[in-house]
Symmetry: C2
């Protein structure tokens, strides 16, 4: 009876799983040896890593295994895109209790495979071990294609702030799930399977982005990193933060009936909600941005904030000139 | 009171930890952005990942935090070395309960830093999250310096098998710890902090190695992977397996008094014990091997084994022509 991974065994499961991953042109040596070999055409490789822990980053009752596979890939290749790079390779560490159904591992694998196909990267290696806590460790690699990496420290006074992708939908989806509400679908699906605009990372680099990151902890909190690294302030224009229809619908379902209040609640989720993995970047004021880059703010110099970017609690990022009290979260404090 | 990581908080801990990691010439962009950028001078990067789970791969009562830091780095850069590559960059995912002492995280960091200095690689990124199970995910990157990777599938009939590094000491150390015995020190320390011969990976490539891996699950089991990948058999010569004095001493302490039995028990640990992270390779018969490469076996063709390398249970690796019944282990089955 091999319907749990403990019954099937490590090596059989690895064989079954790795056979699902097609190579790409970037894969010089794929899974199965001590290490993989991945192309790094311009002599550099972009690398980032994330952990997903059951009960903290996903719940098996709220997300399917396939969703978790999609999400594990998405949040890591979003980081690669946020450097202005193209996704190439992925390594997956999988720690699971022996009673995990084989079907869960296989559906997770299918999600990883499908999101890799969307992002353009390939699974090149991994590790599989036993653990009481289902934990997924993903490392993503990328190719800068000869360009300079778009860091967090290049924003300058006068730059415009623009984002592309979704904002607030994932946070709304989480709020809906917490209340047991089964819609709107776009918010639930964005929470379960965020859809980062991978290719727009490289696009931003070509458009002259001076700083960029992906929104994982909330727009205000994440832009705070740009402010501190670049020594600037950023003011967001609430009128430019236009909630998507699904987000307004979610806010209404969540109990905010008044249209004015609903719009404000939606903007609250847009500036404080994380995990959509939108890309947000600073561009020179004369940048010729395509319509899918939404201008939402301006960079100014840090004069007036004695520590060169605002204290951790007052915050260097404002909305309509006022402090935003909606912050992201600290993983350990949430405990 | 910030003596637990939950009290200190994620961002403060990350700042405190990352300040410990010096960059190297391979680090183009280090920790602090969405992703790191690491040099890949010959247009390729070697990449491998491993998970270490408390209670399965280490115990806080048997290993110090510093030991665990050393080990996490060692087992990953050993995989890089086993491809014939030079260690370059390291990414560390750290999942920990909020009540973990800050001191543990700091000592772990010191172990990582010191082992990186030995191996020649640099920490370039990571992630830190909460979890009920202390789990460490390490991804190591490496540089092949223009050489072909030394894979598992290149061994040919007539090749000699040779290893460098320690064999059996870590397994002996584990057996000693399980019985509460505080010596011999070399075995305990090899279990707590394996010392892979990193630079000899590249050396083996230059000496013409046709296949190579690091010994993590036991010599017989790991060489089985070479046999299956290369379509060969390997016979080890027990007379050539010369136990180190510390290993013989450990076997005596563990209760094997008879000298003949002790030598046999020591060889048993050498062929079945894992986690020393010795390097074992196949070389052409005329390879001019330095003395620290110990010749211990021969490669023959797989004729006579119908499936081209032996079934999983009979095994393509023999000792003095006989099946070795000492196998490594399967992580989930032990789970």
């Amino acid at each position: 009876m091999h319907n749990t991974i403990g019954g099937l065994g490590e090596f059989a499961l690895i064989t079954r799983v790795t056979s699902q991953f097609p190579p790409t042109d970037d894969v010089i040596l794929g899974p199965g040896d001590d290490a993989a070999v991945v192309a790094a055409p311009d002599g550099r490789t972009v690398a980032t890593t994330d952990l997903l822990v059951e009960g903290r980053h996903f719940r098996r009752e709220w997300s399917t295994a396939r969703d978790v596979g999609h999400r594990a890939v998405a949040q890591n290749f979003a980081d690669v895109a946020a450097m202005g790079a193209r996704p190439t390779g992925l390594l997956i560490g999988f720690a699971a209790p022996p009673d995990l159904p084989v079907a869960w591992a296989e559906e997770f694998t299918a999600g990883v495979r499908d999101e890799c196909a969307v992002a353009g990267g390939a699974v090149v290696g991994g590790d599989m071990v036993g653990s009481d806590t289902l934990t997924i460790a993903v490392t993503a690699l990328g190719d800068l294609q000869g360009r300079a990496p778009v860091r967090r420290d290049g924003a300058r006074a006068g730059d415009v702030i623009a984002y592309t992708g979704h904002l607030g939908l994932s946070a709304a989806g989480l709020a809906l799930l917490e209340r047991g509400i089964d819609g709107p679908a776009d918010c639930l699906s964005e929470h379960r399977r965020p859809s980062p605009p991978y290719a727009r990372g490289a696009e931003a680099a070509l458009l002259g982005a001076t700083a960029m990151l992906d929104v994982s902890d909330g727009l205000v909190q994440d832009l705070g990193h740009v402010c501190r690294a670049s020594g600037v302030r950023i003011d967001l224009d609430s009128a430019a933060l236009r909630p998507e229809p699904a987000l307004l619908e979610a806010v209404a379902v969540l109990g905010t009936e008044d249209p004015g209040e609903a719009a404000e609640a939606a903007r609250g989720l847009m500036v404080a909600g994380g995990e959509d993995h939108a890309l947000v970047a600073a561009f020179p004021p004369d940048a010729d941005l395509p319509g899918h880059w939404h201008r939402v703010g301006l960079v100014s110099d840090a004069a007036g904030t004695p520590d060169g970017g605002g204290g951790e609690h007052e915050g260097p990022v404002t909305v309509d000139g006022r402090a935003s009290r909606r912050e992201g979260w600290d993983h350990f404090r949430r405990g």
